[in-house]
Symmetry: C2
Subunit: 380 residues, 2 copies
């Protein structure tokens, strides 16, 4: 009768060591103890995002951090380009439109990604475009975009690039400085494996300069104020203290494991799950898949029944599809605190579920492909 | 070597039963279990705010909930009236001005409150004023305003009234429906005694109607979307799941104690602390004091030294002054989960601190007045 274990692409399972920090007596945010935790968290996020520039922490969900990025990086009436390849990249467009920004959308089928050529073309057709808003790992489809290439094109066109790294941070390299990303947005309940409640934004000097030159009216999401506070190990408004303490602990664990190892673990888990699903005769939605989540095309309209059965029978929660993908896919999350044994758990339960529901007569091909994928990697 | 126990007017101490909920394995927000917790939390907030109208929960600090209230309840260019009696009521003005709203401010000395007459006058001089933004308990001064009277005046002038109840909710009656309040704003780390990270807003039908008729561009803080989601036990964006679970538990404890008893306990603690401080020969800043916090004028510029000594020697954290009151006052918080023994703790340590620092030669008058105050109340 336990609550289901999460295999969703956020919120993800939280390590017990991190949960434990949440049960301690509350500390005040205007204390040396909290300032140290906040500073350590901001440094830890710099480590994960591979940047020496400021990363500010906001008490809000990832969508709040996206809004902060749009209203600080643009002005009303400006033109921006958005790569619209799934539900979460649509969010960039929705937010920009709400605040009176002109949006040029590069649309693809769900599961596809935007090509560098399509981004080049959009800039050519809209030479004054000020910002390219894009999505690294599109959580709704499990697709991974080439933001490094996009950044080069944005630079060439003297535009800024803002990247939703909400489900790529921690699962892939996000080379903020090396690639020249100007704003990188993340959320707490994702690769940094803590409860939801915090968003964060890394900001390049060019992004900060543009904000200073003009932006939308802004109060709670004032990123210049947040940067100034961060320099004093502070936040403009009362932060979600306990979640910052969780973040400090989780980032410490990630540092101990080492970013290369964290990413390699995600890559190994994601590759193995993809091999397993393919061996089961199923198709992946994403042409270029992300290490955060594996989106699987399910037979007919069985996606809901599969997810429900996984939860009821095996106490494992996977995600369904969103928007037009509802009922057509399931998404197995492997973003965050998961090891090989966890992948055996979720893949064998997934395979058993298909068998239980009469959707497959076989059992074992998936879990065997999983094993072979891990073994091949170990032998390398 | 323990972390100091909080006697600050938010964040306040969190009950162990509430802390315990934070260490459980994370659940997903799209589950029956979470929907029940969210619904129970919204109902519990209705109980505390004495309303049958919707109370929406936002993942943001109280300042975020204030911004949400301003941008949803007003349009650019409208005129509003603000009672500006301390740092937190200034925030209403600051937010409104950022978003291009014309503000008529009723200013008082810090520690004073706005008179009903001054509010009448402001409406007379600004007949088109659309909203009165006011503060029930002004946390920076410990003063309590007569929002019931303000609401009558606003109604008479066909204006809405929005109330910052961030530190009054749970410490005083906030009779949202009976008084006719249109928007009532709260924060989690206050009377509902949980960690920071959530804000909430109660909304009258008139407030919802005005939003529908027109408001500022809004995305993350869209209160109409929040109301629509709340009807389905949902939130528009991923909520701070663990803090909602804390809220559910804390509100359950408040219901078990009973709202009348909760408020009576705050009243008893606040009265006793005021009697103690007065018996020590010190002066209260607020003419009409709130039950949330007691602001005490301290000799010379000793406030910082007093707070520091309390923390270092007695591991108790009280607050200093803010803005122009910095250095001049200390604020003893008794908002939330405090009983008589806690007040003996903080008052005797406060008295000892003044003695330790050579600011007073006496000891015992304060703690004795505390005892007499409680005994007189028991004898009633």
């Amino acid at each position: 009768m336990r609550s289901p274990k999460l295999f969703t692409p956020g919120p993800t399972a939280v390590p017990a060591e991190v949960l434990e920090t949440q049960a301690r007596p509350l500390i005040h945010h205007r204390t040396e103890e909290f300032r140290q935790a906040l500073t350590a968290s901001m440094r830890g996020l710099q480590y994960v995002l591979e940047t020496t520039h400021p990363v500010v922490i906001l008490t809000a969900s990832g969508s709040g951090a996206m809004e902060a990025t749009v209203v600080n990086l643009t002005r009303p009436g400006e033109t921006v380009i958005v790569t619209e390849v799934g539900k979460f990249s649509e969010r960039w467009r929705e937010i920009a439109e709400v605040f009176g920004v002109n949006v040029v959308a590069i649309r693809t089928e769900y599961g596809d990604i935007a090509s560098p050529e399509s981004v080049e073309r959009a800039f050519k057709e809209n030479p004054g475009a000020a910002v390219l808003f894009t999505t690294h790992s599109e959580t709704s489809t499990g697709a991974l975009q080439d933001v490094e290439a996009f950044a080069r094109i944005a630079k060439k066109n003297r535009a800024l690039i803002a990247v939703d790294a909400i489900t790529s941070a921690g699962a892939h390299h996000v080379r903020t400085d090396a690639w020249g990303l100007d704003a990188v947005v993340g959320g707490s309940q994702k690769g940094v494996m803590i409860p939801p409640g915090l968003g964060y934004v890394a900001l390049s000097p060019a992004a900060i300069a543009k904000m200073k030159a003009g932006r939308h009216p802004v109060y709670y999401f004032d990123l210049l104020k947040a940067v100034a506070s961060a320099e004093k190990s502070d936040t403009p408004y009362t932060p979600a203290i306990t979640i910052v303490l969780a973040l400090e602990k989780a980032l410490q664990m990630m540092r101990e494991e080492g970013l290369e190892n964290v990413i390699a673990r995600h890559d190994a888990n994601a590759s193995a799950v993809r091999a397993a699903v393919t061996a089961m005769g199923m198709e992946l939605l994403a042409k270029v898949p992300s290490n955060a989540t594996t989106a699987v095309l399910t037979p007919g309209d069985s996606a809901g029944a599969i997810a429900k059965h996984m939860e009821k029978r095996y106490a494992l929660k996977i995600a369904g599809g969103q928007g037009s993908l509802k009922g057509k896919i399931v998404r197995i999350g492997h973003l965050g605190y998961y090891d090989e044994a966890d992948m055996y758990t979720v893949v064998s339960a997934f395979e058993a579920t298909l068998n239980d529901l009469g959707l497959s007569k076989n059992f074992g091909a998936g879990v065997d492909a999983l094993r072979r994928s891990y073994q091949a990697r170990s032998a390398r």
